[in-house]
């Protein structure tokens, strides 16, 4: 059966495209507590992530970069959801997001916690693009380890 590009709708959901066109939290921070560059060596996609901490939480975050729609939208969605979270909460979200990408069954409560990041769910049907979605989360992991070493 021949298919057109309709199947792409599952990948390129409106929320994702919106974040790709208008990425959030892109203003660079003057003096961040942690700063990480992540590069995907296979495709050259880049993410630059900065964290500023306050009261044990992420008080400001900036995610910029260049690359495909998935990698850049994922960075923007990450920035929105991680803002205001404690390092432990952010790490929990990272694990939930990894689960979302690798096809783990998430409970409704877990899915709700991912908020708009659920728009990236379709990526798991395109396995070669999963690394695009995870690039900024791997940058976040490194940044969190700098401000709050994992227990």
């Amino acid at each position: 059966m021949q298919r057109g590009l309709g199947d792409l709708d599952e990948l390129y959901q409106d929320v994702l495209l919106d974040h790709y066109r208008n990425p959030r939290r892109t203003r660079r921070l003057e003096s961040p507590d942690a700063e990480v560059d992540a590069i995907n060596p296979f495709c050259g996609d880049e993410i630059h992530l900065q964290l500023l901490m306050g009261d044990g939480r992420v008080s400001k975050i900036s995610v910029t970069g260049q690359g495909c729609s998935i990698s850049q939208a994922a960075g923007s969605l990450l920035a929105e959801i991680v803002d205001g979270k404690t390092p432990d909460e952010a790490r929990e979200l990272r694990e939930l997001f990894r689960g979302l990408m690798t096809g783990e069954e998430l409970t409704d409560e877990q899915a709700d916690r991912l908020e708009d990041n659920l728009a990236l769910q379709g990526v798991r049907r395109f396995p070669v693009r999963i690394k695009c979605a995870l690039l900024s989360w791997s940058a976040l992991s490194d940044a969190l380890d700098k401000v709050s070493p994992a227990g």
């Binding site: 059966m1 057109g4 590009l5 199947d7 792409l8 495209l17 690359g67 729609s69 998935i70 695009c132």
Partner: protein, 417 residues
């Protein structure tokens, strides 16, 4: 065979089982040949035949299977020798791939002949595998790496080349054909310039040997590296041609079985060429299959292969002109390029384009093409690439162009393009 055709493409296609495959419900349109080519039934069968009938280690047994395997292995070397018109079978060394061939030269010739203050000249169009081995050699020896720039029309700046190749130059290393731009480099002229200053000329032939007639003696290069898997052969085997007198003088690089003449606990001496550079049990099955691939191409005639691809590339270049938001890298004229077209969309990232085309069964390369410095010099981070071979048709180019139009419509509707 159609009038004006250089190859009987329909007959060729019947030799490639994979071309009958469907991808996402569409007939496969395989346009990623610069990454690796597909394999004809003859090559696949030679692998099965070897393992089913005469699998054995070479150069050591007196039994029938070992003799047959050794004969076939050396016969394949002769086929490759004739394929590139090398002066002797001893000047053809089996390696794992082009990268290993180039590393062999960098370590064995480079470490013995390059020192502080010397210069290594490469071009702005190199694949990482013809950059990093020289960069590392420069780090090890205190030499300097110099880059011959690209002109505005995607060609190599030969005037700059003449200035950059000086008495300090020890090695000139250049691709014969760029894997990104498709540009064919006049390596014969570079070799003459290298030889005037007693430097060696190393040619990365990974993209040229599969597609055009290659005569290493006419090019007058000192080393010529290429891979079997881009020329219908199996993965995991490559070739290094070296000028015989240079190979004779060059120290061994890897040590072990097959490459030795005599071993005592005090010392060891080396086997003759080419075995001095082939340590350990070689990749016999893939070498034999490489010989079959070379025969397949020789039977078609490399002039015909080259003419077919240039005709197809001209057709594609004409059709690409219809695509307004898409821009091309490299020369626009087929007289200076082979069957490689790299392009980028003004607002759709190449991975998004690649995913969309894959939905339509079209395989192209996307990303930095293992040539990050070249891609960056064009002020982009990523490009898409269609590359052609003997089994591609104008119909497939049409499918690609239609696919790109459809992708453009899709992403425009999504507000991206």
């Amino acid at each position: 065979m159609a009038a004006g055709a250089h190859l009987d493409v329909e007959r060729i296609r019947a030799d490639f089982p994979i071309l009958a495959r469907k991808v996402n419900g569409h007939p496969l349109v395989y346009l990623d040949n610069a990454a690796t080519s597909q394999k004809p039934r003859q090559v696949i069968e030679s692998l099965v035949d070897y393992y089913e009938r005469y699998n054995s280690n070479v150069h050591r047994g007196v039994h029938t299977l070992s003799i047959e395997a050794t004969d076939a292995y050396e016969d394949a070397r002769g086929k490759v020798q004739r394929f590139i018109n090398a002066p002797s079978p001893q000047s053809v060394i089996w390696t794992r791939n082009t990268s290993e061939s180039l590393n062999l030269v960098a370590y064995a010739w480079g470490d013995a002949n390059v020192g502080p203050g010397d210069e290594i000249v490469i071009t702005a169009m190199e694949h990482h595998s013809n950059i990093v081995p020289w960069q590392q050699l420069a780090f090890r020896t205190g030499a300097t790496l110099k880059i011959i720039p690209e002109t505005e029309t995607g060609r190599l700046d030969m005037e700059q080349a003449a200035e950059l190749i000086t008495e300090r130059t020890k090695i000139v290393a250049a691709t014969h054909m760029s894997n990104v731009l498709g540009t064919v480099i006049d390596v014969k002229t570079l070799a003459a310039a290298a030889h005037r200053v007693d430097a060696v000329m190393v040619v990365d032939g990974a993209q040229s040997a599969p597609h055009m007639p290659v005569d290493v003696q006419d090019l007058d290069c000192d080393f010529f590296a290429f891979s079997a898997h881009k020329m219908l052969g199996p993965m995991g085997i490559g070739i290094l041609y070296g000028r015989p007198e240079i190979l004779e003088a060059m120290p061994a690089w890897m040590f072990g079985g097959d490459m030795i003449l005599e071993v005592t606990y005090e010392d060891a001496s080396w086997n003759d060429l080419p075995y001095k550079f082939e340590a350990g049990t070689p990749n016999v099955a893939d070498a034999i299959a490489t010989g079959v691939a070379a025969d397949y191409l020789s039977a078609l005639g490399m002039e015909n292969v080259w003419a077919h691809e240039r005709q197809l590339t001209q057709y594609a270049l004409d059709r690409f002109a219809e695509l307004e938001p898409i821009r091309l890298l490299g020369p626009r004229e087929v007289d200076s390029k082979g069957g490689v077209i790299s392009f980028f969309h003004d607002s759709i990232h190449s991975h998004d384009l690649g995913t969309a085309l894959d939905q339509l069964g079209i395989a192209i390369r996307t990303g930095h093409h293992c040539a990050m410095p070249l891609i960056r010099s064009h002020d982009i981070v990523s490009a898409a690439r269609a590359s052609f071979y003997i089994y591609n048709t104008e119909d497939e180019v049409d499918v690609l162009i239609d696919g790109l139009k459809e992708a453009d419509r899709y992403f425009s509707k999504a507000g991206v393009a």
